[in-house]
Amino acid sequence: MIGFIASPETSAAITAAVELAQTSRGLAPYIGIRGMEILSGPNAGQYFLPFDDLALTTPLHGGTRIPDYPEFTSLLAMLGGLEARVDIDPSLVTPPSQFD
């Protein structure tokens, strides 16, 4: 699973900024980025933000893509750029399931 590792604060800021990028344009927040808490391993307590190459090409409002948004550059910089992405085992962010 490919994405960014970020502090809880940065993760929350990214979530809010992505929502604002849509609502400030009068759009419903139809796409979001939400951090998943890393539950074990050396990054436990940090958050994982899923963001694989598919996220870059997903067709959005009016045929735009995420990189078309001017905010993308600054948000990406907060996370260290695309090269800062890591590939982690999904089990690191999978909570124990109460109902299985």
Partner: protein
């Protein structure tokens, strides 16, 4: 006279249902070129197809039962997030592929969060929910639609093997186990406060997979349903990688009415996408 007639016909769009008109407008507002015809090239008159679907629901007195109906068929996140009933928008998160006719989660991070809490749509003792799967999940114990809180779980979940696949949870964890089915088709669960029915509609049949009597279980969770995963009190889990072409959250209309709804939904999805329900 000739101008007057043609003008009247075109401005009236030959009786498109007003709720269909509102939904189409909401979808077209976010589509490239603002054209639903371009987004659905395999549909012959998509506006008419959508209108006919809603008119059939209204004609059978089912429309008021529906709280949310999502058609993520547009290969476009904004359009696929629009609810046909309220025209509000849900939100896609994580790894989700948007394809022509369906969406597909990655099985580890992708899901769709519906708009509004389950408790504002349904009660746990009066519900009819489901998903249209055109691609079977390859994962076990995963939810295609689900919400949970405390000991309450309302979900359609895959079963103990990827090839014999959808189990169901409605009610408390101890009452969660039920039938198993192949996971393509329109999978639904209805609960009227005593009888729980799990059904699967395929291209050729609509089968009752399991029916049992369980205790009334109280209020639905005050969290939104997730599609392609379960929203367990805002902790998202059991991600599915099934292909999802439609989903809905409704009140229970009774077995016959529910069957007629899934038949109508099948016609809608197949007519709009040009695909055939497996």
């Amino acid at each position: 006279m000739q101008y007057s007639l043609s003008n009247r016909l075109s401005s009236n769009v030959s009786g498109i249902d007003p709720d269909a008109r509102a939904y189409i407008a909401a979808v077209e507002a976010v589509l490239p070129g603002n054209s639903i015809e371009t987004a659905l090239p395999n549909a012959s008159n998509p506006k008419r197809i959508i209108s006919d679907f809603i008119k059939a629901e209204k004609g059978a007195s089912r429309w008021a039962l529906h709280k949310r109906i999502y058609l993520p068929i547009y290969n476009n996140a904004a359009a696929s997030a629009v609810d046909m009933v309220s025209r509000t928008s849900g939100t896609f998160f994580g790894g989700v592929t948007h394809a022509a006719g369906y969406v597909q989660g990655d099985g580890s991070s992708g899901y769709f969060l519906t708009n509004g809490n389950a408790s504002s749509h349904i009660t746990e003792n009066n519900l009819f929910i489901g998903t249209l799967h055109n691609i079977q999940t390859t994962l076990i114990f995963r939810a295609t639609i689900g919400v949970g809180s405390g000991t309450t779980n309302i979900a359609l979940q895959s079963g103990s093997a990827a090839t014999v696949n959808v189990g169901i949870g409605v009610g408390t964890a101890t009452a969660a186990a039920s039938g198993f089915v192949g996971s393509t088709g329109i999978i639904s669960v209805a609960f009227d406060g005593s009888t729980r029915r799990l059904k699967r509609r395929t291209s050729s049949s609509n089968a009752l997979l399991a029916s049992n009597t369980i205790a009334s279980a109280g209020l639905a969770p005050a969290f939104p349903f997730a599609i392609m995963a379960r929203n367990n009190g805002l902790v998202f889990d059991i991600y599915s990688n099934a292909g999802i072409g439609a989903s809905w959250i409704s009140d229970d209309g009774g077995d016959t009415q529910n069957d007629l709804f899934t038949a109508n939904l099948k016609t809608l999805w197949e007519s709009l996408t040009g695909l055939t329900l497996p």
